[in-house]
């Protein structure tokens, strides 16, 4: 299950999807909208995606995880649009027969997602708004001041 959606994310839906009787382990990662970032007080987040490409990239990432670890199923779902503080923006769920595979593939998926999947975060904070650039949590800097 690889999906970009406007709807609120449901953890149990992903876990039910990946879990099966032959798996003994499910690892999940939930990214939630945090109320602070780099000293700024965050009011809300908004995510934008290139949805068709993002879902393709998520699927590729899942396939690559399946080549690297012995996993049963993987689901990655990212929300777009407004995300309130405390709500999940992304969920990864991975099942495997053994916990190491589930845990490592889960970590891999969230790390890679942040590098390659065409999704962007805009932060609305007290006093302004800013597109976030890369994983650093720093405002995007395109090499200019426009």
């Amino acid at each position: 299950m690889f999906r970009v959606t406007q709807k609120a994310l449901e953890l149990q839906e992903l876990v039910t999807f990946v879990n099966d009787p032959t798996a003994g382990a499910v690892a999940t990662f939930i990214g939630t909208a945090r109320d602070h970032n780099e000293g700024r007080k965050v009011i809300s987040l908004e995510y934008e995606a290139y949805p068709e490409m993002a879902e393709r990239e998520l699927a590729r990432l899942g396939e690559e995880a399946g080549r690297r670890w012995k996993i049963h199923r993987i689901a990655i779902v990212h929300r777009v649009g407004a995300v309130r503080i405390g709500e999940p923006s992304v969920i990864v769920a991975v099942s495997a027969a053994h916990r190491q595979d589930a845990l490592e593939a889960c970590r891999y998926a969230i790390e890679e997602l942040k590098k390659t999947v065409p999704i962007w975060k805009k932060e609305f904070f007290e006093g302004g708004e800013v597109w976030i650039g890369t994983q650093s949590g720093q405002p995007l800097n395109l090499g200019d001041k426009a």
């Binding site: 923006s89 992304v90 065409p118 962007w120 890369t134 995007l140 395109l142």
Partner: protein, 81 residues
């Protein structure tokens, strides 16, 4: 020939459109298209850093030669998660 160009996030805001259709010369590369867009949209001109390019929803290099009806996206640094 014509290609569809998609803009996202900060680039969408600078261009003021999420999608445009652009007439380009046969044999143009992704890099040629980007330079043409920088001339057309002054706010793109100063952008120097860390752009990725996608054609038909796959990442490609800047020297990729475009075909008629390609869907081209200029991808600013991603920040999902």
């Amino acid at each position: 020939m014509r290609v569809k160009v998609k803009f996202f996030a900060v680039l969408r805001e600078r261009v003021g459109a999420s999608e445009i259709t652009k007439e380009i010369a046969d044999g143009s590369t992704v890099g040629d298209l980007w330079e043409a867009l920088q001339r057309e949209y002054p706010k793109l001109a100063p952008v120097k850093r860390a752009l990725l390019y996608a054609v038909n929803r796959d990442y490609v290099g800047v020297s990729r030669v475009l075909k008629d009806q390609d869907e081209v996206a200029f991808v600013p640094p991603v920040s999902g998660g």
